[in-house]
């Protein structure tokens, strides 16, 4: 366990340089940013296990939530601390970057996945802050459709829903998303939910809701009310 830290601006810059270099040369050693001037102690009481194995986004988010809870902190104490989230991505960088089985190369994605953006339109893309944000907003059951995947991936449920303020802040809509697209038996999203062609897919759901929110106070509606006003194309998903 180490005390939680936050990257400094110099540390963030070094981290960005490392991300850029390791993308080209996977054997580049990770710089030590766990000391000044590259990072500073964040919150004395908060400790993080650097070598913990995190098998899914849900595991990662639950782990952070538990550490925050046992440190007597609240989500509002940490949610906007971008340089803390970037530090977490730094210490878990190896887990957050997939080694492609065919080439053995590390797959490093866009910078916003590791360096937490100050712009909320990119914030949710961060591979550590994003899952924690979703879990802290939605709770364990409703976050499962977003957090079922491995820590190094960024799935389309997050991209399509967490990026839209209106959707992610309405738990009743997320209830409906869960009901329509989550396969209870297989503990994974239903096949075709993210298809662009299948009737009633997730993108269609978003379009329909964007129309309905102009007329209805979505917040006041129960999940059954919402399902009732959805077009017929969504009925099939309920029976799958």
């Amino acid at each position: 366990m180490i005390k939680a830290r936050a990257l400094s601006v110099d540390g963030e810059k070094k981290f960005k340089e490392y991300i850029s270099t390791v993308r080209e040369n996977p054997s580049t050693p990770r710089p030590n940013l766990n000391t000044a001037p590259f990072s500073i102690e964040f919150i004395r009481e908060l400790h993080i296990e650097e070598s913990i194995a995190l098998n899914s986004k849900a595991e990662l988010a639950h782990y952070i939530q538990e550490q925050i809870r046992t440190s007597d902190l609240k989500r509002e104490d940490v949610i906007d601390k971008n340089l803390f989230w970037s530090w977490l991505a730094y210490i878990w960088f190896d887990q957050l970057t997939l080694f492609a089985p065919d080439t053995g190369n590390r797959i490093v994605k866009e910078e916003a996945k590791y360096v937490c953006s100050r712009d909320y339109r990119d914030y949710y893309r961060h591979l550590v802050a994003g899952p924690y944000l979703i879990l802290s907003l939605l709770g364990s059951r409703l976050s499962r459709i977003f957090l079922h995947s491995p820590v190094y991936t960024h799935n389309d449920f997050i991209e399509q829903i967490a990026s839209r303020q209106f959707l992610i802040t309405h738990l009743n809509l997320i209830e409906v998303v869960d009901l329509l697209y989550w396969d209870e038996n297989k503990s994974r999203p239903k096949q075709g939910a993210l298809s662009r062609n299948k009737p009633g897919n997730l993108r269609r759901f978003i379009k329909v809701i964007q129309q309905l929110e102009l007329t209805y106070d979505i917040y006041s509606l129960s999940k059954d009310d919402i399902i009732r006003i959805l077009p017929d194309e969504f009925r099939n998903w309920l029976n799958q």
Binding site: K74, E76, D80, R118, Y124, A162, T169, S220, L221
Partner: protein
């Protein structure tokens, strides 16, 4: 500029028809008061529900305020469990009880400060790397936020009092805000724009003697890009004139140092 087509018939509650204040405890935002809601000209049904939502980014909390007929505050309007409290905006909704249709709405409301003077430019101190300041225009409906680099020693005082900061930073901030308002967002009216922060800044500029002109309205025949640019320059000049004491102070400071 996004088109705001209203096919739903829902009514617009104007900014001056609602009064919302933050309640602070030791300088920290604790809760809010929804003091005034003048809906006399809106002809809303007596049993329609009134809600207030506090929101920013992914934070959203709703508070029921009874009905149009029986307006009553909830037991608690606590905001302490919300992040980004300094930046919270409010939305007032009137909802038809049975159908749950929205009858009237006011969005993007900044709370009035207790002194009734609401800051039109919220400021946040953040680590901005090697930049001194930047403007954050995150959402069309919410006012821009001035971000100032917290790495600069004593920056809180400098931003409030240092003549050089006033001379070198604020005119450019004003320029960028007006530029964004006129050319990026686009103004839909010079007397009653739908976006609240446009209203605030047009008022601010008017207060300096530079009246808004029709050439500023983006989707209109009278829109004139060159005239609109000139208007922005006039506003910046009027602002600099208003705060000429800082310019003088800076010059005097320079002479003393020579």
């Amino acid at each position: 500029m996004k088109r705001r087509l209203n096919f739903t018939g829902r009514k617009r509650i104007k900014r001056d028809q609602v009064t919302i204040n933050f309640i602070k405890h030791r300088d920290f935002i604790d809760s809010f008061n929804f003091i005034n809601f003048d809906h006399s000209d809106l002809e809303l049904p007596a049993n329609a529900c009134v809600y207030v939502e506090a929101y920013y980014r992914t934070e959203l909390k709703r508070f029921p305020f009874g009905t149009i007929e029986n307006f009553s505050a909830p037991q608690s309007t606590s905001l302490t469990d919300m992040a980004y409290r300094q930046n919270l905006k409010f939305r007032v909704l009137v909802v038809e009880t049975r159908s749950k249709k929205i009858l009237a709405v006011a969005d993007g409301i900044s709370p009035d400060s207790p002194s009734d003077r609401r800051p039109i430019l919220p400021v946040e101190f953040k680590d901005l790397g090697n930049r001194v300041w930047e403007l954050n225009f995150e959402e069309e409906e919410t006012s821009p936020i001035l971000l100032i680099n917290e790495r600069i020693p004593d920056i809180h005082n400098i931003a409030k009092r240092d003549p050089s900061f006033f001379v070198y930073v604020y005119p450019f901030v004003l320029h960028d805000i007006l530029n964004h308002m006129v050319f990026v967002d686009g103004i839909d009216s010079i007397t009653d724009p739908q976006i609240e922060w446009h209203h605030d800044w047009l008022d601010f500029v008017s207060g300096m003697g530079v009246q808004p002109k029709k050439c500023l309205i983006k989707d209109s025949d009278s829109h004139d890009q060159s005239e609109a640019s000139k208007w922005i320059e006039q506003a910046v000049e009027a602002f600099s004139d208003r705060y000429q004491k800082y310019f003088q102070a800076m010059i005097m400071k320079g002479e003393e140092n020579q």
